[in-house]
Symmetry: C2
Subunit: 347 residues, 2 copies
């Protein structure tokens, strides 16, 4: 991170050309899914997913908007780009089996840099057992663009949308919230320190966990597997990319229900809390609006209460109410605060 | 084209924000395919394609690399972005049923501009009967980025790859070649005229056909339908995006064969020929290397000769030879010229 790359070897992309680069990337790509009939190398990939509902999700990451290469190692970026797409498939209670990756590159990038990016992509593919089956490589006039489509499937009976949460359902969230956002604040701070004095080395040891949550997101495929094992089909599910508040409001809107969340139930890691206070930020605000957690937010029927309680990775943070009551946070002090959406305002 | 847009109404994207823009685009999106179970509005789209092989193809178009907004109307651009992806599915002998569209936008674009782009996207979806089921919208620091993934299917028995052309097969091509490339030369020339004197209006009437081939590409789904009707399963197929020479070499490489193409059999439209000569370009070179034709190049067993001959939209341009003979062009003069690949060298 922030390291001097001048000593690394560099192969210019123009030496390879389009077909050379495609061949190079195809060579490193291994298929492991029986459903991947054909991968890279024809006009389209061929997939066989018999008797299951097919899930498709696309995400685009832009340099300078979604990531800053000053503190994002390319390998981590490649891993995260795959993980966030796998997370969308997980949020439908499904399993990702294939991805396509399209990248736009400027000649600022060498072949070695692309290899680092794909190292992360392949590592994520291996971890999530999904195959890279196609995509596109093109040049970009400005900055790196990564566009990924994830293809997965789910048994139709357990497909979980955002639209079927019902009165009295428990609102559950996996892992903890706000770490990725507060990790980003650390990275931005260290970048400013580095820019003002390049002799200064970033001090990240104490923040390893939260910085890791920002740089190397993981999709909670383990939670989907656990739900299946426990015999629980959530009534609604979404992955937390914009923050608990925004994403819970999506469930409320699409299910036609309200929600009540309890501040004291929000799972917040100790380092997240301490670092938020260091930045003079309210840890609850960070947990509600931080975003990029990629934890799963889901609702289950009350009858599952005991099973859910026994699972340490899942917290019950509230319950579904009537639509007329809106979506509210019951604060520790006892106030009721209305939850508000905060999408990005990049434009 | 090249028109003054100052008089059009303009709605800033920041007024809508991310969720507003997504809602706005989702409203305009209609689903017509029975296989589209759920479209925009959840973490992933849901598709049911029973007992067919699924085809997936992704393409990314970047402003300043793949298109120039100085002479590309946004509506045409949207249409073309879909058509080139549908073309990839057609080249597998399949049918596209769904697409996802991810766009990167700067605040240079107004809501009206985005609507124009989506007007073209929706028009292409209606024409090819494929549903827009998802995607991503994000801001871009530099220019417009359009990344599309097409999802389709094919009965496994008629799936056509690039890899099964065999000795003596006929090499066939739909429509005519080189028009899109020569149309681009016209547009570039008129842009230069306009830049040097903005009072000059572009003179495009005489070139309407070739300019149309550049700006508004069509996927040859009609050829796929005709092949099915005629009971012909090509041994290999590819769509011509890089030019006949490059794309035929892909078939040769993947099938382990050679090819012989006859210069006098190449289908070249009269306007293409005349305009090539006007630019002091060899029409044969334009037909072989022009690219962006999105015609289908395919090989069939000789027994289909009579049926193919009866179809005016398809030309037999040569035949498959032994790999040892390479891929060659028999010129009108009687020379044998080796065919060479020319991918892009954007970097």
């Amino acid at each position: 991170m922030l390291k001097d790359k001048s000593e690394l070897s560099r192969t210019e992309l123009e030496r390879l050309g389009e077909f050379g680069l495609i061949d190079h990337l195809a060579e490193g790509t291994k298929l492991v899914q029986p459903s991947s009939i054909m991968g890279i190398g024809d006009d389209a990939a061929v997939i066989e997913l018999k008797n299951r509902s097919i899930l498709v999700s696309s995400d685009m990451l832009m340099e300078g908007v979604h990531f800053d290469l000053a503190y994002t190692p390319l390998k981590h970026l490649g891993y995260k780009a795959v993980a966030v797409n796998v997370s969308d498939i997980a949020a439908m209670n499904g399993t990702c089996s294939q991805i396509t990756v399209s990248i736009g590159l400027s000649n600022r990038f060498s072949l070695e840099a692309i290899d680092e990016l794909y190292e992360g992509i392949w590592q994520a593919c291996a971890h999530y057992r999904c195959d890279l089956v196609g995509g596109d490589t093109t040049s970009s006039r400005a900055g790196l663009v990564i566009s990924i489509t994830a293809i997965g499937s789910v048994e139709s009976e357990v497909l979980t949308t955002r639209g079927k949460a019902k009165l009295h359902d428990l609102i559950c969230v996996s892992g903890n919230l706000g770490a990725a956002y507060i990790g980003l604040q650390i990275l931005e701070r260290e970048k400013q320190v580095f820019l003002s004095d390049s002799e200064m080395q970033p001090q990240l040891e104490a923040y390893e966990y939260i910085v890791g949550r920002q740089l190397r997101a993981e999709a909670r495929t383990d939670v989907v597997a656990w739900l299946k094992e426990a015999g629980i089909v959530p009534t609604a599910m979404i992955d937390i990319s914009d923050g608990l508040a925004s994403d819970l409001l999506h469930i409320c809107k699409q299910s036609g229900v309200g929600a009540k969340v309890y501040e004291d139930k929000l799972p917040i890691d100790a380092t997240t809390k301490d670092t938020a206070l260091e930045f003079k930020l309210n840890p609850t605000t960070v947990a509600l609006h931080g975003g990029e957690d990629y934890e799963l937010l889901f609702t289950v029927d009350q009858e599952n209460h005991a099973i859910i309680e026994g699972q340490s990775e899942i917290s019950v943070v509230g319950h579904i109410t009537d639509a007329s009551q809106g979506a509210t946070l019951a604060s520790i002090k006892g106030d009721m605060v209305e939850l508000e959406a905060q999408g990005w305002r990049h434009f």
